[in-house]
């Protein structure tokens, strides 16, 4: 079954763009796509929302690929902005009686696949204050304090403090969940 939105003729696509930049982008996409979705989930989005944010982010990355210098950090920064914008837009929207289109059921599909440990860690991250959660998301993806500080526009010391608090809170969360 192929769901198709039929419109005017799609037409033949232009010739292969080819080129090293395209190859690089494709390689980068394959390496980072799922990690970006995970990053967006770590900062508080659901699976479907995270997938949409990632798609939009990579679309922008594709358009600006030639001038992006540190793409791993760039896509995460843009994804955070996209999520913030999406949340603001969602607050402005009037709820509709019917959904506009078939929803993306990633959360459902993902729910089937997530292990209990994965669910717990996502829940634990959601319980953190936003700044701590954001710091943790960057750390999980392997960024250092200096890089995170640069991306978040804070001092490295502030990043360290937030990380320390996050660890403490996570420790409490896990302490609670293991006592249950």
């Amino acid at each position: 079954m192929v769901a198709v939105t039929v419109g005017p003729e799609a037409g033949a696509l232009p010739a292969g763009s080819g080129g090293l930049a395209d190859m690089e982008f494709a390689e980068f996409f394959r390496a980072e796509h799922k990690k970006l979705i995970r990053f967006v989930m770590a900062i508080g989005a659901g699976g479907d929302e995270a997938a949409e944010i990632a798609q939009a982010t990579f679309f922008k990355a594709f358009e600006g690929w030639d001038v992006i210098r540190a793409p791993r950090a760039w896509i995460r920064r843009v994804a955070v902005n996209e999520l913030t914008a999406a949340r603001k837009a969602a607050r402005r929207e009037t709820p509709q009686a019917t959904l506009p289109d078939a929803p993306v059921p990633v959360s459902t599909a993902l729910a089937v696949e997530l292990t209990e440990e994965a669910r717990q860690v996502l829940a634990a991250l959601q319980a953190l204050p936003p700044r701590q959660r954001q710091v943790m998301a960057w750390i999980i993806d392997g960024f250092g304090a200096a890089e995170i500080a640069r991306e978040l526009g804070v001092s490295p010391e502030s990043v360290r403090q937030n990380h320390a608090k996050a660890r403490k809170n996570l420790g409490r969360f896990y302490g609670r969940s293991t006592k249950r």
């Binding site: 292969g16 989930m41 770590a42 943790m136």
Partner: protein, 374 residues
């Protein structure tokens, strides 16, 4: 990752348990995403949205104006990701074993020397200067290959449908299908690359559909008999006309006997190829293979192109386009022929995820039917 967390911030024993828990948990999240996300499909949609092609990975992939067909956004006829428990992410990156040459020995006996015999030239597109290719010979070989492959091979297809939206953007969706005998399975992905529906008909004539959207599933004996798609007068139509079901399988439609039963892809392709509607147009690289290109006649209602392997004469890719000036989606089907081993046959099974609720078929397929064109 855990060590990375410690290294980045100096560690300390207090938070080590938390680090470990976060590390393991987030690794599991990534593994789960691996099972439900199709990177290549998502990448294809980005390129399609900008009207560009996903760069191929095969060296020497043509990048001429003619290559748009062979390297369409769906791009790489890599094996389909095995969704919903059919193999997992690792499998999605592996190229499955192609049908052993021995399996189509009858076809290849003459086929191995066919190219030399007919002097098939390289890719050459230039209006009236198309190379003279022995169409009859190629078609015969393809027909025989499909005939031989039908009973012994599973056709695994990744189908990308691109269509322009009212807003002028190109929307691309992906489905993966397996077809073998009268068994088939189709997995549909949303525009964002997530698994939405998994449906199929088993060898015991039972139709099963799983809706990942509603977390429901349904199963019932299939309706009617298999449609007749044997070569013959009614097979002399565009592939899209003879192949509506393999390309768009769907749930049973009450009152339409057999509507849910695609014939095997091999059988349907054979019907289209053998009726003489296609012309051998030369050679073009498809995923690193110097494939033989067969195109529909210029007066065809629906233009189509089929690329076949010069080794096995089995189709590797089919592209169906709307007629010039006509609206409609463009479909690209990348086909891999798998030997019908027990492991490969398991791809034809629709797994029911734990926790999903069984519902009547009509209820399960209602949202799905809303997407059936027409």
């Amino acid at each position: 990752m855990i060590r990375g967390l410690r290294d980045a911030f100096g560690g300390g024993t207090g938070g080590q348990a938390a680090d470990a828990a976060v590390g393991h948990g987030m690794a599991d999240v990534l593994a789960a995403l691996d099972n439900v996300i199709d990177d290549d499909a998502a990448l294809g949609r980005i390129y399609a949205g900008l009207g560009r092609n996903v760069p191929g990975t095969a060296p020497g992939m043509a990048a001429t104006d003619a290559a748009d067909e062979a390297s369409a956004p769906a791009g790489r006829p890599e094996p389909a990701a095995d969704p919903a428990g059919a193999g997992g992410p690792a499998a999605s990156r592996r190229r499955p074993a192609l049908l052993p040459v021995a399996a189509v020995a009858a076809v290849l006996t003459a086929g191995a020397v066919a190219l030399a015999a007919i002097g098939m030239p390289g890719t050459h597109r230039g209006g009236t200067e198309r190379p003279a290719v022995n169409t009859a010979y190629v078609v015969k070989r393809v027909d025989s290959a499909l005939d031989a492959a039908g009973p012994v091979a599973i056709a695994q297809m990744t189908i990308t449908t691109s269509a322009a939206t009212a807003g002028g953007q190109t929307l691309a969706t992906t489905a993966k299908e397996w077809s073998y005998g009268d068994q088939w399975r189709a997995v549909t992905y949303s525009a964002a690359g997530y698994l939405t529906y998994d449906e199929g008909s088993s060898s015991t004539s039972v139709f099963t559909v799983v809706s990942y959207q509603a977390r429901t599933w349904a199963r019932q004996p299939r309706l009617g008999g298999a449609p007749a798609l044997a070569p013959g007068p009614r097979g002399c139509q565009p592939v899209v006309a003879t192949l509506p079901l393999p390309f768009q399988p769907g749930p049973p439609v009450p009152g339409v006997p057999g509507s849910s039963l695609p014939a095997t892809v091999a059988k349907a392709l054979r019907a289209a190829v053998s009726c003489g509607a296609l012309t051998a147009a030369g050679r073009q690289r498809v995923d690193g293979i110097d494939a033989i290109e067969l195109t529909s006649r210029q007066d065809s209602v629906i233009p189509e192109t089929i690329w076949v392997s010069p080794g096995t004469y089995l189709p590797l890719r089919v592209v169906i386009r709307p007629a010039p000036g006509q609206p409609g989606p463009r479909q690209t089907a990348d086909i891999t022929w798998l030997p019908a081993t027990a492991q490969n046959r398991s791809k034809l099974t629709v797994p029911i995820p734990a926790g999903f609720r069984q519902v009547p078929l009509a209820r399960a397929v209602r949202p799905l039917m809303q997407h059936v064109p027409g």
